[in-house]
Symmetry: C2
Subunit: 235 residues, 2 copies
DNA sequence: TAGTGGTCTAGACCACAGG
DNA sequence: CTGTGGTCTAGACCACTAC
């Protein structure tokens, strides 16, 4: 199992701090040479390190050392910018898509909509220190937020909803599972198809108990760590 | 991108219900033949499907169709057997290791122990319908639970602690991140090194605010889906 | 334009699973 | 014992990045 040996060697280099976060690894051919093996085997080792979260790739640009993960507390409302800043990271959000569409199967289900209802669909790329780490796909009930798309959408959406339409989110249902990037998302965040991801979906519910927004977040799986504290009454 | 085509073809077979959960895929050589390609490329496709969670492997036995995921609600105390039964699955737990050890770095940190403190270390294999899906590694403060290891350890541990030592867990701190199986765990749950996993660590805190137990659960990443509902006061 | 990563081929050997 | 999965080699071509 050469590729285990290689994986461990690179891992040690990283963990001993020889390689800084964000640094690029030598080319695959050079590495294969160094470890006296072929690219196929070398890539197997890299692939392990990727799944393990120690390195990541940017399509056709190469392999890079992962940054530390962003810690997310699911028991608090999620505001990307605040969370990132609080952890010393530089966040930015880019609106990738914003349009009015027919609700798809998932959004009709989670938002309890009738078929053919119109919803706003907003796709946003989230970056930390310049690197794309998450793509969020929002589906929002259109009738509750008229002219939403005429507003700036690169800030805190919950705040936008609250200030312009008095829409208050009081409850959130999460589902978290591990997944992979499909071609579309891989392309937009410059990752690769099949790279491991963490998929967090949220249903945002207002004070009246109506599901107003359905969000699917696709995280580079090594960019995030979920934390939370739960108290138990008694069971 | 042949392997994408192959991946999609197999995926469709699975999702259309042609292949039942738990069924074994044809041999790699047969599949490679079917898709008129080589094993290397075919394995690339299988690897994608594995990361995506649609299939899994058992070491040297082959590739199998995944079962549906177990839904876990993090806001409730976690009892493997009850959760599994409630979802129509057949759970079983096997004690793999139970010993008294010197606390390692992680456990001293999370349990706030002095170095060289003795802790009980219990490793348990968790199965659903006969298939190993999770390995849990427990570190428990020894002084609070004398003779713990003389008790049967294949049931609900929280209940055991409560009934024999009046230890009540009232709070739990979670951390969830995606990871991979190391050689040890891969072997014991018959998975393979580097297979993607979901790592849930829990710190169990008693009524006095003392961290009594530190548990690391290593889940086959496709075997689990985390759910939870959170209410927000206002932020 | 040179070098890189992404993809693919056509073999090979070994250790283990299952009959 | 046979076939399978796990691992590895030594090439190759293409599209894109970076210069």
């Amino acid at each position: 199992m050469q590729y285990i040996r290689i994986k461990d060697a690179i891992k040690e280099q990283i963990q001993s701090g020889q390689l800084a976060a964000g640094a690029k690894l030598p080319s695959e051919r050079k590495l294969a040479d160094t470890f006296k093996t072929t690219r196929v085997t070398l890539r197997e080792a890299l692939s392990l390190l990727e799944t393990d979260g120690l390195i990541y790739r940017e399509d056709r640009r190469g392999w890079f050392i992962s940054h530390r993960a962003l810690h997310l507390d699911l028991s608090l409302p999620f505001v990307f910018s605040s969370v990132a800043s609080a952890q010393g990271r530089v966040p930015s959000i880019e609106v990738h898509r914003a349009e009015s569409v027919m609700a798809n199967h998932e959004s009709t289900t989670y938002l309890s909509l009738l078929p053919f209802t119109e919803v706003f669909n907003i796709g946003r790329i989230h970056r930390l220190d310049g690197r794309a780490v998450m793509y969020a796909d929002h589906y929002v009930r259109a009738e509750r937020l008229p002219n939403l798309l005429q507003h700036p959408l690169d800030g805190n959406l919950a705040e936008l909803y609250r200030e312009n339409w008095q829409l208050h989110i009081s409850k959130c249902c999460y589902t978290v599972r591990s997944s992979t990037f499909d071609a579309l998302i891989a392309t937009t965040i410059k990752s690769t198809v099949g790279a491991p991801s963490l998929r967090i979906s949220r249903v945002h519910i207002d004070e009246a108990g109506v599901a107003q927004e359905y969000v699917i977040e696709h995280w580079r799986h090594n960019a995030i760590s979920l934390d939370m504290t739960v108290g138990f009454g008694d069971s």
